[in-house]
Each structure stands twice: as C-alpha cells, then as structure tokens.
C-alpha cells in the first residue's frame, strides 16, 4: 500500500541553540532579533514523511505551517528536505494547541491526506497536545511518541515510546502520528535541493478563510526566567556529605 498524501506540520520556533530571554514585563519570551528555526520534532516529522515517499510508501508530502509571513522560511526548509509542496496558513496571532488543531482539521478536510505527521511537541511551549486534539477532532486513530513507523498491508504499524518501554500498535488509516526524538535523524537539505525548493508551489491561505474559531481560551498570567543555578561544592568524604545533607540542606 502507498499513502496517497501525507500532511506534515512544521512550526517556526526560537532556535534550540538560542539563550531564551524573558521580556522584562513578564509577558512572554523576547523574540526580537532572535534566530528562529523549524521545531526539531517537526524536522523529524518531515524526515519521516520524505522517507515514506522515497520508499514508495507515500505519493505526496505536503508541508503545512501556521504563522506570519516569516514562516515561509520554515516551509522552504521542509521543501528543501523533500516535501513536494507547501501550505502556509497566514496568521499573525499566537495560537493555542486547540486552535492549531482546528486549523489543521480544516486543512485536512480540504486536502484529504491519509496520514498527518506532527512532532510530539514544539520546543517553545512544550504543550504536547496538538496531535492528540487533532485526532480527537477528526475522530481518527492516533499514534503518539513514535520511535518507529512501518506500513503493513493496509495499516500503519507504529512503535511508541511509553514509560514502561515500547508499545506496538496497528492503526487503520487515515491516522494522526506524532514523532519522538529517536524516530530518525533528519537530513541536511543539500544545496541543489535548497535551490529546487524555490520552484515548489506554496499556497498561502489567510486563516480567516478557513472559518475556524481560533479564539484563545487561555490567559498567560506571567512568564518567568528559571532560577539561576547556584554553584555546587565538593566534599572530601562520605561523612562530610552526610553531615551537609543533614545540617546544611536539611534533607535527611
């Protein structure tokens, strides 16, 4: 079997290597002049989709992003990695996971993919909700935290990383999948592919055209910097350690 179309989500986030700074008024993370990149888990999702296509298990890979005009870079990256075309849902406001899921739902209804592949979470807000909510909205089976994906007969055989070890599930299609870190190692887009990506089609859709309720249901009260780590100390002996744990830290 070959999936006729895979829809893969790509989110633009503050680059993983950037030192995050919180705005002085605590209203959010300072993103001015900060390097942005594709969410690493989304890269894994793109890689997996492209591999499906390369193995003849998918016919078309469509990358989708939601965000302002700058998100075009993120789509371009996905196209350079091997996605066939892009969908850019243009939206200038930050969306919470439920709204993101609803936007995806609307695009799924339009594009009728046989699988939606997403990262398990984005490294900015670490919500880990979109895939699950989308599966719920679509009433599709879901396989989350994948470390392995196989296509067998007319089903998807997925291996999930769960607390106790690995769980294997068979999912009927269409299905929603979310990727964990060990699923694959994303490729570098080669230079010729970076150039070819420029010629691949990208459709821009204003979010309003999808007729989706993206109203926020969450209020961010305050964003705080994590407390600075205090330097540690060295001890000479076990006795000294026990003493410090008892008398200085008061934990035993």
């Amino acid at each position: 079997m070959s999936l006729s179309r895979v829809l893969v989500g790509v989110k633009r986030v503050v680059d993983y290597a950037v030192k995050i700074r919180v705005k002085p008024d605590g209203s959010g993370v300072d993103k001015t002049n900060v390097k942005m990149s594709m969410n690493p888990f989304c890269e894994i999702a793109v890689e997996e989709s492209v591999r499906l296509k390369e193995r003849g298990l998918a016919q078309e890979v469509v990358a989708m992003t939601i965000g302002p005009s700058q998100n075009m870079d993120t789509i371009r990256t996905a196209l350079a990695m091997g996605a066939d075309r892009g969908i850019h849902v243009v939206c200038d406001q930050d969306l919470e996971p439920l709204a993101v899921s609803k936007v995806f739902q609307a695009v799924v209804q339009k594009e009728t993919p046989q699988a939606v592949i997403l990262g398990k979470q984005a490294i900015d807000d670490d919500c880990n909700q979109t895939g699950q909510m989308l599966a719920g909205l679509l009433d599709w089976p879901q396989g989350t935290f994948l470390s392995k994906l196989e296509v067998e007969n007319d089903a998807l055989k997925v291996t999930r990383e769960v607390d106790g070890g690995l769980e294997t599930l068979n999912l009927s299609i269409p299905a929603v999948l979310t990727c964990d870190l060990r699923l694959n190692e994303p490729r570098y887009a080669s230079l010729p592919n970076i150039m070819k990506a420029k010629r691949k089609p990208v459709e821009s859709i204003p979010v309003a055209d999808l007729g989706v309720d993206i109203k926020s249901h969450l209020d961010v009260l305050r964003i705080e910097e994590t407390p600075k780590r205090q330097g540690g100390g060295k001890v000479e002996s076990v006795a000294e350690l026990v003493d410090k744990l008892k008398n200085e830290a008061g934990v035993i």
């Binding site: 870079d73 350079a80 570098y188 887009a189 080669s190 230079l191 010729p192 970076i194 150039m195």
Partner: protein, 399 residues
C-alpha cells in the same frame, strides 16, 4: 525597500540565511567531532569527502544540469566561511575545488568537457589545482612542466609542489608550458585523471597547520593526454590561472580570515572563563580577585580584535558581491586577502594570549587556530605578492 537603498555586503538574503544555517549545522555535527583527530593524524577523515559531496558543497555554483547548486560566488564564500570556523582543512578542500577548479572548467571548458568533468566534480570527484613548482612559487609563470604535442595528444613531464588535496584527488587541473621560450604565453591548462599512468603523487608534507589537508609533490612522467584535455586554447593557461586566482583568493579569505570562530564566538571564549568550563579554566578566569573580563586592558583588546574581524568580513563579502554583480573586483579581492589573512593570524594569536597557559596547550582549540592561521599569508599568493598586485593597480589608476 526603496530602489536607492541597497543591501549591505553583510546583509544576507533568505537563501543565504538558509544556506548558512545548514552549513553551520553540518559543520557542528559532522566536522567538529573529527577536527582534533584529523589534526593529530594529519589526515582527512575517509567519510568527510563523501559527506561534503552529498551535501552539495562541492558544486556550489555549478549548473543544475551537471548536478550543482547553481548558487552565487557569495554563497560559496558562505559555505567556506562556515566550514572554516570549525576546521580550516575541510574548508580548504571545499574552497580550492569550488573557487579555482570548478570555476576554471565552467568558464573555459567546452560543453563536452563540462559534461565529462564538471558533472563528476560536482558530485563525486575531488580535484587539485597544480600550478606551483619548486622554483616557481610567487613567480608562478616561470613554471617548467612541459607539454609536448605529439600527433593528436600531448605528453606531460615535470614536477609540481605544494599541491593541496593531491593525495585524495581524482582530477587534476595542471598548468604546463607548450614552449618555454614563449614564457607566459606558452602556458597551457590541462584537465586530467589524477590516477592515470605516469602520475605520481609524492609523500605528504608534514606541516605547521591545516594538517588534515594533504599537500604533496606531484610528478608527471610521460603522461599522455588527448588534445581535448586542453582547457581554453594552448597558450591561454596564463589568463586562466590569473583569473582563477583573482577570484579564488576571495574564497581563500572567506576561509582564512575566520579560521577561528567568528568574533562573537571568540568573545564568548573570552567571557566564558568566569561562568563555565572546567575548574582549571575558572581558576585562570579570575585574577587579582576578579574575572579577567573586568580588566579594561583586556576589554579593549577584545573590542579591537572584533572591530578588525568585522572589517575583514566586510572586505571579503564586498569583494564577493562585486564579483557576483560583474563589477571589477581584483583590487578589492587582493585587499581582502591581504587584510584578512593578517587579521586571522592576529586574532588567533590574541586568543592564545587571552586564555593564558591553557591557550598554549592542545586541549583547547585556539592553539590549532593559531597554527592554521599562518597559511593565509602564504598560499594563493603571499602577502608581498598581494601588496605588489595592489600597488600595480594603484600605479595604473594614477598613471
């Protein structure tokens, strides 16, 4: 943006940003773990070349139909710069192959030469640029390697020195004279298979820096090549080499002037003493009861070096963009090479000093940057030769 506002040399297009990010990642993930091993063993890692080809770094500007990226010269410089921040030997492989050899074939090759050679050079086959000889370095066109025409082929004899990447190369671009009495007008460029009978690659030089990049003597003993091995026409080799080197030196500088991180990283290596790294570094990071970064004497040195690095970077990318837009660039390129190769050495030297004793040990990268940085003032024309070039152009302007 209004028509009259033009982007600055160091303002990057979306493509350039994407390329830079990609190369940066590649360098951090694939090159960085091998740097110290390759330097110690004096050898390019076996998998490195393959990866450079797969990533498309070996045919940056080559046309799409030959398997290249069809990007700009500035983009080649970006690739070279990002690689050189991690390892100057790896960046030199990419630099020579792209800015000298690919360009020579692209510019002077016939269609059939291009489809034969360029398509392999962009995708699988490493090349070397064989110009210098034992007694013709700065005076490169006093070369003695001969090419004697015999019927429908040429027979090559002679010996080349200092040939970078010769140990690993599959293709040689060779400069030889068809008639020594014609002096530079006899010089002819050839392209040939590096593994063919009569080609002997000598032992690798044991060098101060860029140790992972092989530098070898190459001997040609009665090497027979067909007439279609000639690039351009017989006697045109001088022009071909000059033009290639005029452009190549911009690339060499994208490589050399930053053969040690960029200014930001440099400064962070300086500032990091007080807040991270190992215990021994922390010890060195504090003197006279405060972090050394609080001494104004050091702050000013860092500021000065950052300023010089920025100047070098602007010179290099300005020259590259002049080249891309078809404007004259020879003087600007020579100035870029002159200044940035000196800056490179100074910066590396300063970094060693700022780190104190540990900077002098092989445990930290700056010692290697310092050794690597010296080559910038020697290859692709020495500092003096660049001064000579600049002077000649000034002389012409005021004549």
């Amino acid at each position: 943006m209004s028509e009259s506002v033009r982007p600055a040399a160091t303002e990057w297009s979306d493509d350039e940003v994407m390329l830079r990010d990609m190369v940066k990642r590649f360098a951090a993930k694939e090159v960085a773990p091998l740097v110290s091993k390759m330097d110690k063993e004096g050898k390019m890692d076996g998998s490195m070349l393959k990866q450079l080809f797969e990533a498309g770094f070996m045919g940056v500007e080559v046309e799409d139909k030959y398997g290249g990226g069809e990007m700009s010269f500035t983009q080649t410089c970006i690739v070279v710069e990002e690689l050189s921040k991690v390892d100057a030997s790896v960046s030199l492989v990419v630099d020579i192959h792209n800015t000298l050899n690919n360009r020579v074939v692209e510019r002077w090759g016939t269609d059939s030469q291009k489809s034969k050679w360029l398509s392999q050079m962009a995708t699988t086959s490493l090349s070397s640029f064989c110009l210098s000889e034992a007694s013709s370095g700065s005076d490169a066109f006093a070369l003695k390697t001969t090419a004697k025409q015999q019927g429908d082929h040429y027979v090559l004899n002679g010996s080349k020195m200092w040939i970078s990447n010769a140990a690993e190369a599959d293709v040689f671009i060779l400069f030889a004279t068809v008639d020594e009495s014609l002096r530079h007008k006899g010089i002819t460029a050839f392209i040939l298979d590096a593994k063919q009978p009569g080609v002997h690659v000598g032992k690798k030089e044991d060098k101060l820096g860029i140790r992972a990049s092989s530098t070898c003597e190459v001997r040609f003993d009665d090497v027979k090549v067909a007439k279609d091995a000639v690039l351009g026409s017989p006697g045109e080799g001088y022009r071909i080499a000059i033009q290639a080197l005029n452009e190549g030196r911009i690339g060499a500088e994208a490589g050399m002037f930053l053969s040690m991180r960029d200014s930001q990283l440099l400064c962070s290596s300086f500032f990091s003493f007080s807040d991270q790294a190992s215990d021994s570094l922390c010890l060195h990071g504090e003197q006279f009861g405060k972090p050394i970064s609080e001494f104004q004497g050091l702050q000013f040195q860092v500021a000065e070096v950052c300023a010089e690095l920025e100047a070098a970077k602007v010179l290099v990318y300005n020259a590259a963009r002049l080249k891309d837009s078809g404007a004259p660039f020879v003087k600007e390129a020579a100035i870029a090479k002159l200044i940035s190769s000196k800056t490179s050495e100074k910066v590396a030297s300063k970094c060693v000093e700022w780190m104190g004793g540990v900077g002098f040990t092989t445990d930290y990268a700056v010692e290697k940057y310092f050794r690597d940085s010296k080559i910038g003032q020697i290859y692709e024309g020495t500092t003096n030769i660049h001064l000579q070039t600049i002077w000649k152009l000034i002389e012409k302007e005021y004549a």
